[in-house]
Symmetry: C2
Subunit: 248 residues, 2 copies
DNA sequence: CGCGCTAGTTGATTTGCGTCAAAGCCCCTG
DNA sequence: CAGGGGCTTTGACGCAAATCAACTAGCGCG
């Protein structure tokens, strides 16, 4: 699993100026230069809304640095996070004009964007990229469906453990380390954001974090800094037989 | 919204022998004949498992008639349905060998299949089809994310209403009728399957169905036959501002 | 230094849904 | 027609998580 994760991430070609695994054109110099001409950058501050649900979206893009969240909301204020956008993740849907989600920057954010029209026509000229985009979308679909199991059937404690396991694994993969030995990382989310991800309240998140700490499953330095002494124990707490997917 | 639904369904080309909107080749006679040679049919009885999670899958296919469910399970027996396969829906992932889900026929089922290898190479030769496949996958991703809101944030009553609204709308669309006036349809799912879909127990599903009936939101003839006198009222019960998506 | 602000923790109480149990309905079959 | 088995309904009870509320930690700032 870890190997798979690393393989997936390494498809982000590090020397490619587009810095996105969907549109990395290392195997096609022509495309590369065409993309170069098209692209532009946008920056957002932490807390800023990148796209409002229902807004017209005339661009697609990928995250260069920072973190953003995809959320859906009901009119009474209840919200559910449906995805996390990390560096190299793609946002925007070729062929649809409106975004069905709110996209909010949780940290300062830099995005690399392409206007939609030229991007779309480029896709049609370049099956290679269309194919890559399909694979990424299928990955996200699998991740979303795995999250449905978490939301529908897991207890609060299992939900927290699942989220921590995903973040820990992603972090280990980025550092090209395995998941043996203690894992150390910083939570990129507030308690409230975790709650929105997990379909819980922030109080419950806080309580379960404390409980996992009390039971020695995790250690906490401050509010955000986490140490996982035994990753397998965490997985067990998550109720995971399968070793979980990437939740994008 | 309804128009969108109908447009989407009508992309299933009725006179195309492949009967699937992803691989309908009406605009390409060459592809059509190549597909014709490749395809074969499989039939399953109600209750039969089409694919076990983790099994090697050497084919892809689409549903010709009947209904199947995609479910994920934890080893202690908790299960969560993550998708519903209706006629014209596609299953199987080009480029991956194992299925991450159990696929179970809930009615007698006929599937039109293609062996994976030739199907994959056909995709590469036919950008048209790859593009269609990407669109369908994006639709499914949107539907999955919408369902995450249902699972994470809605009450039992709202969950039931959401599911009924989706089925009612789909049914109305198939009959090319609007959603004004009373809607009548048969539930294609047992109470237990509904529970698995909604992250509830079957007892809760039963109770909430009774409650919606008592409050005049729905009428029930027998266990499966449902009448919705006022679709807008049902939507309100579902907590839906947006008029909901297609959940595949 | 004290003030105020935000994020997080912890406690008391309520409640919605799960669990366990019993009984009803319907279809099938002998 | 009786009997059995699957699906469904209904009831009683318990518990996990929500809600309401108080309090703490950390941090920037006048």
């Amino acid at each position: 699993m870890l190997n798979e994760t690393m393989a997936s991430l390494s498809q982000n070609c590090s020397d490619c100026p587009i810095r996105h695994r969907a549109v990395c054109a290392r195997c096609d110099a022509d495309e590369l230069s065409r993309l170069e001409e098209m692209k532009y950058y946008r920056t957002f501050e932490a807390g800023q809304t990148v796209i409002w649900s229902g807004d017209r979206m005339d661009f697609v893009g990928s995250v260069v640095s920072g973190i953003a969240t995809l959320t859906q909301a009901m009119e009474d204020g209840r919200t559910q996070m449906v995805g996390l956008l990390l560096p190299s993740d793609f946002v925007g849907r070729p062929g649809r004009t409106g975004s069905p989600y709110n996209v909010v920057a949780t940290t300062d954010l830099i995005m690399c964007c392409f206007r939609k029209k030229p991007f779309e026509s480029m896709i049609e000229r370049t099956p290679h990229i269309a194919h890559r985009l399909l694979e990424m979308t299928l990955d996200e679909l699998d991740a979303a469906r795995e999250w449905m199991l978490v939301l529908g059937r897991k207890t609060a404690r299992e939900k927290i453990a699942s989220l921590l396991a995903i973040i820990a694994r992603r972090d280990a993969a980025l550092q090209l380390r395995g998941t043996t030995g203690p894992l150390v990382f910083d939570l990129p989310l507030t308690r409230e954001a975790m709650a929105d991800y997990l379909g819980l309240t922030l109080e419950t998140v806080s309580r379960q974090m404390s409980a996992l700490k009390r039971d020695g499953v995790i250690e906490l330095q401050g509010k955000r800094h986490v140490t996982v002494p035994d990753f397998d124990l965490l997985l067990e707490e998550a109720g995971d037989d399968s070793d979980g997917g990437l939740l994008v």
